[in-house]
Symmetry: C2
Subunit: 267 residues, 2 copies
C-alpha cells in the first residue's frame, strides 16, 4: 500500500529524483549515479509498473491519484502529492500528463538472454536523439521485432523522453547494450543471425532481397547524421537499402527503421 506524502516545499530533499527534468546533461549523470529512471504520464507510469519495474517513488498532483489508484495500491513506495505549480517548480516544466514515477533502473541484461528465442533483432549503433530511440522501439514492437541491441554509445532507451515517445515499448521489448563495439556484428553472426546493415553503400541491395528467406535476422541502423561507422558497415553480412525515388537518398532513421521492420517481418 502506497504512502501518500503531502509536499508543500518545492525544495524538499525527498524530491531529489525529480529535479530539473529539462536538463538532459544533469539528468543523465543523476540517473546513472542513483540507478533510476523516470516515467511520465499516467499511461507510461502504469505500463512501467505493470511490466515489473520497481518504483522508488511517485509524484503527482491530487487529481491524478484516482486514475492511478490501482497502481499505487500495489506499491509500497511513497507517493509525493503536491500542487501542479509546485511540481512545475521542482521539475522545471509543466507536467502535462500529471503523474511521474521514479523507478529503479534494472541491471543490464546479458546479450544471450535478450537474444533467447529472438528471430528478428534490431541493432542500433550511435543514435544520439532520444526521440528517435523511442520511435524506433515503438515501431519495432509494433512491427515484429523481438529484441534490440545497442552499441555502447547509443542514446538511453530509459531516458524519460525515449520512454514517452516509445509509449513504453522499452518496457516490453527485451534490450541491452553490447560491451564490445568492434565485435558486435561478428558475434551476432556467430550466434546464427544474418546481420543486414542499412546503408547507402555501393554494394547495398534492396532490403527485400537481402532478407528474403532468412531465418534469424539482425537489422543494423546507424546514427542520424552519418549513418553506420565503416567498421559496422563492413562487418555486417549484408548491406541493404530501402529503395527510394531517384534523386532522394535519405529517410529519417525512425522512418527507415519502421519501413525496414515492416519489410523484414514479411520475409
Amino acid at each position: 500500500m502506497v504512502e501518500l506524502v503531502d509536499i508543500t516545499d518545492p525544495d524538499d530533499p525527498r524530491l531529489a529524483d525529480y529535479r530539473d527534468l529539462r536538463d538532459v546533461q544533469l539528468r543523465q549523470t543523476l540517473e546513472a549515479e542513483h540507478g533510476l529512471f523516470l516515467a511520465e504520464g499516467e499511461k507510461v507510469v502504469r505500463r512501467a509498473v505493470e511490466a515489473g519495474f520497481s518504483a522508488r517513488s511517485f509524484l503527482m498532483a491530487p487529481r491524478w491519484l484516482d486514475g492511478l489508484a490501482d497502481v499505487l495500491d500495489r506499491s509500497d513506495a511513497p507517493c509525493f502529492v503536491l500542487a501542479e505549480s509546485l511540481a512545475e517548480q521542482v521539475t522545471g516544466f509543466h507536467v502535462h500528463r500529471g503523474a511521474l514515477a521514479s523507478l529503479h533502473r534494472p541491471p543490464p541484461l546479458p546479450v544471450e538472454s535478450v537474444l533467447a528465442g529472438a528471430r528478428t533483432v534490431l541493432v542500433l549503433e550511435d543514435l544520439v536523439d532520444h526521440t528517435n530511440v523511442g520511435a524506433v522501439f515503438r515501431s519495432g514492437a509494433a512491427l515484429g521485432v523481438d529484441a534490440v541491441l545497442l552499441a555502447p554509445r547509443c542514446a538511453d532507451p530509459l531516458y524519460r523522453r525515449s520512454i514517452k515517445v516509445g509509449m513504453g515499448a522499452v518496457f516490453t521489448l527485451p534490450w541491452t547494450r553490447v560491451a564490445d563495439w568492434a565485435d558486435a556484428l561478428p558475434a551476432l553472426s556467430r550466434a546464427g543471425y544474418t546481420t543486414v546493415a542499412l546503408t547507402l553503400a555501393d554494394d547495398a541491395v534492396p532490403l527485400e532481397d537481402a532478407v528474403a528467406g532468412l531465418d534469424k535476422v539482425a537489422l543494423v541502423l546507424g546514427s542520424e547524421g552519418h549513418g553506420l561507422s565503416p567498421r559496422w558497415e563492413q562487418s555486417a553480412d549484408r548491406r541493404a537499402v530501402i529503395p527510394m525515388r531517384d534523386g532522394i537518398d535519405s529517410l529519417n532513421v525512425a522512418a527507415a527503421s519502421a519501413v525496414a521492420c515492416y519489410i523484414t517481418a514479411r520475409r
Copy 2:
C-alpha cells in the same frame, strides 16, 4: 546581386521577420499576416531558393556568407549580417545551422494542378505537430508520393520546424489545402482516385490488399491523437490497416505514413 547589410542593433526594425522564432503562436499570426515563411540552415535555405521561392531577406553570421555565396548572388533581397550573439537575441534561440531566410509565401495552388499527373497522393487530416508534418513530407517524397493534400486545419508545412524536419521536401512535393473538408474524399473519388483511409476500424483490411492493383491511390491519414474523423473514415472508398503484432495497435503517424507509402509504392 544581394545587398549585405551589417546589423549592430538587435532591435533594428528591418529584422521584424526574424523575431521570436520559438513563439509558435506569434509566428503563425505574423507569418500569415505578412505572407512569409522562414527557412533555417544552409541546406534548407539553398533548397528553398533553388526550388524557386523568392526571398524577402536573409539573416546570418559572417561565417555563413561564403557557403551561401552562390545563392545570395542570384538574389536581390538584402542579407542582414550580424554576430551570432545578436542573432540569438533577435530570434530567441541559438541558430545552430547559421543561416536563415525569410521567403514570400506563395499563393495556394489549386487542387487540380497539385493532382495533375499524380498517381499516389497523401491526404492529411488534422495533424497538429509540425515535426510530424515535416516527417510525413520527407518520407512521402522519398517513397514515391506525387502530391499531398491537407485538410483545412492540418498544421502548416511551411512552418520553420516542418520545413527543417522535412529537409525541404515541402518545396519539391506539390501540395495544397482542400477548401471543403466534408467533400474532400468524395471529390478525390470523382477525380479517379481510390481513397484508402488508414484506421483501426473493424472493417479495415491489410493495406497491401487494399491497394493491390490500383492505379490512382489517395492514402488518408488522421491526427496524432484520435486518428481520422468519422466523416473522413466513412467517406473513404476503403479502410485499411498496417498489420501489427498482437496486442499492439498503434504506430506514430510519421512511422505509419512511411510504411504506408512504401507499401503503396509497390502496389
